[in-house]
């Protein structure tokens, strides 16, 4: 394999292909130190793989390490991070009396900082209902049950702005989703989805993000597919993307019939993929391309 890589690199260099510069960076050795309103914060973007992954990899890396210099630096200053606009929109929405009887998020939950820590431990199983809950599931429950509103679109602006705001409250917290106890069956289901080769191209998540991370599909630098940085501002889409929205895109690109956001399959997959990042920092809102 290594011999092959060297050969490939040599071939690229010999023929002056644009990918030579990119191919050397797998993943980039760099530190994510962010200038924010409350000073600087250094995030954990690489660490020892969690125990359940140690048979397949030693080190886990945030997708940040696989992006180009200018994309990486955009996330190193909140002033440059385009996702912060969406966090601000989320804050306005949080404080607005939007409920049927004038309820607001702030009315029950006070400031958004009351959500600190939630992003690091979700998806998680709700003790009362036994259901697997993403942040979107919690938001949906409030919107439809407590505020008496029509459900927000799962990947619509209101949902994602709120998700961005809530995620930001956990920036720097270490991802630590539970995979045992009541979470175990969901986690197993998610693992099964992760390793299933879907679609006419017969590709699984693992095909790209485990077996070939660090390599290139055309100009796409394959990361480990970590979701600790989600929701993310995706330059390609000029907008905020949730983890499950990215799952839709990936599965679609295997020429498969995708699952829908909030389907049992993608919720389980979100838990499983999150668990592959146990030990990395929540990035709040990241920047990718």
């Amino acid at each position: 394999m290594q011999k092959q890589m060297i050969k490939t690199l040599a071939a690229s260099a010999a023929f002056g292909l644009a990918l030579t510069g990119m191919a050397m960076s797998t993943p980039v050795d760099d530190k994510l130190v962010i200038e924010g309103e409350e000073g600087t914060i250094e995030l954990v973007t690489s660490t020892k793989a969690p125990e359940h992954l140690q048979e397949v990899m030693d080190t886990i890396y945030s997708g940040w390490h696989y992006r180009e210099d200018d994309t990486r630096s955009m996330q190193m200053d909140d002033f440059d991070n385009p996702a912060m606009v969406f966090v601000d929109r989320g804050r306005d929405l949080w404080n607005a009396a939007i409920g049927k009887n004038g309820e607001s998020c702030a009315g029950c939950h006070n400031g958004p900082e009351s959500m600190k820590g939630l992003r690091a431990v979700t998806p998680r199983v709700d003790a009362k209902t036994g259901k697997l809950m993403t942040i979107e599931n919690y938001v949906d429950a409030c919107v439809t049950e407590r505020m008496g509103l029509e459900a927000w679109g799962w990947t619509g602006d209101k949902m994602k702005d709120t998700l961005a705001l809530i995620s930001m409250q956990s920036r720097g917290e270490i991802v630590n989703v539970a995979i045992d106890g009541p979470a175990a069956p969901f986690w197993e289901k998610g693992k099964e989805v992760y390793y299933t080769r879907y679609g006419q191209l017969e590709m699984s998540c693992a095909s790209c993000h485990e077996e070939n991370q660090g390599l290139f599909i055309r100009s796409d630098h394959l990361s480990q597919g970590q979701i600790n940085g989600f929701p993310t501002y995706r330059l390609k889409d000029a907008g905020i993307l949730s983890a499950q929205q990215r799952f839709v895109g990936c599965v679609r690109d295997t020429r498969a019939e995708t699952f829908k956001p909030n389907s049992d399959e993608f919720k389980a997959l979100e838990l499983y993929v999150a668990s592959r990042g146990n030990g990395l920092s929540v990035e709040g809102v990241s920047v990718r391309h």
């Binding site: 490939t8 292909l17 006419q200 017969e202 295997t254 020429r255 019939e257």
Partner: protein, 157 residues
């Protein structure tokens, strides 16, 4: 009729009626991953093969393979081995089999099968993310496979 003229006539007939002798994806005879016979009976066109191999919506082989012989094609990927010299490593029947369904040559390979229409998990309607509305077609046509093979056999070391 001279022998040469007869060949030209035969070739013209074959080109005009490509479907008659075409082997369907489900009817391909593999021997240890190899396909000995042409899928169409019409010789492949290496120039058309290059187009298939470098076009995103067709074969997009360069997504994963470097082809040093095509230096003008940008962003060649490196998931699979470089294809330069591939004809010195595999013969035509092997190459045809690998392009059509490489999993019969390399078990578990990442490489998609380009001439296969069944046996998938949740296949979609091309890249729409939706369920297919009719029977699946292979990613490449039989003639496109032949065109790709016609180019690959020129990549000798």
């Amino acid at each position: 009729m001279t022998r040469q003229l007869m060949l030209v006539t035969l070739a013209a007939m074959a080109a005009a009626t490509p479907a008659i002798s075409e082997i369907a994806p489900t009817a391909v005879a593999y021997t240890e991953g190899k396909i000995s016979e042409s899928l169409t009976g019409t010789p492949g066109d290496p120039v058309a093969g290059v187009k298939v191999m470098t076009t995103n919506a067709l074969g997009n082989c360069v997504a994963c393979h470097v082809i040093g012989a095509l230096p003008d094609v940008p962003f060649q990927g490196n998931i699979g081995p470089a294809l330069d010299g591939v004809a010195s490593r595999y013969d035509e029947a092997q190459l045809r089999g690998i392009v059509a369904n490489s999993k019969l040559t390399f078990e578990g390979t990442f490489m998609p099968a380009f001439y296969k229409t069944d046996g998938f998990v949740r296949p979609g309607n091309a890249y729409t993310g939706k369920a297919p509305e009719s029977e699946l077609t292979p990613i490449l046509t039989a003639q496109q496979i032949e065109d790709v093979v016609a180019y690959l056999v020129t990549l000798k070391e």
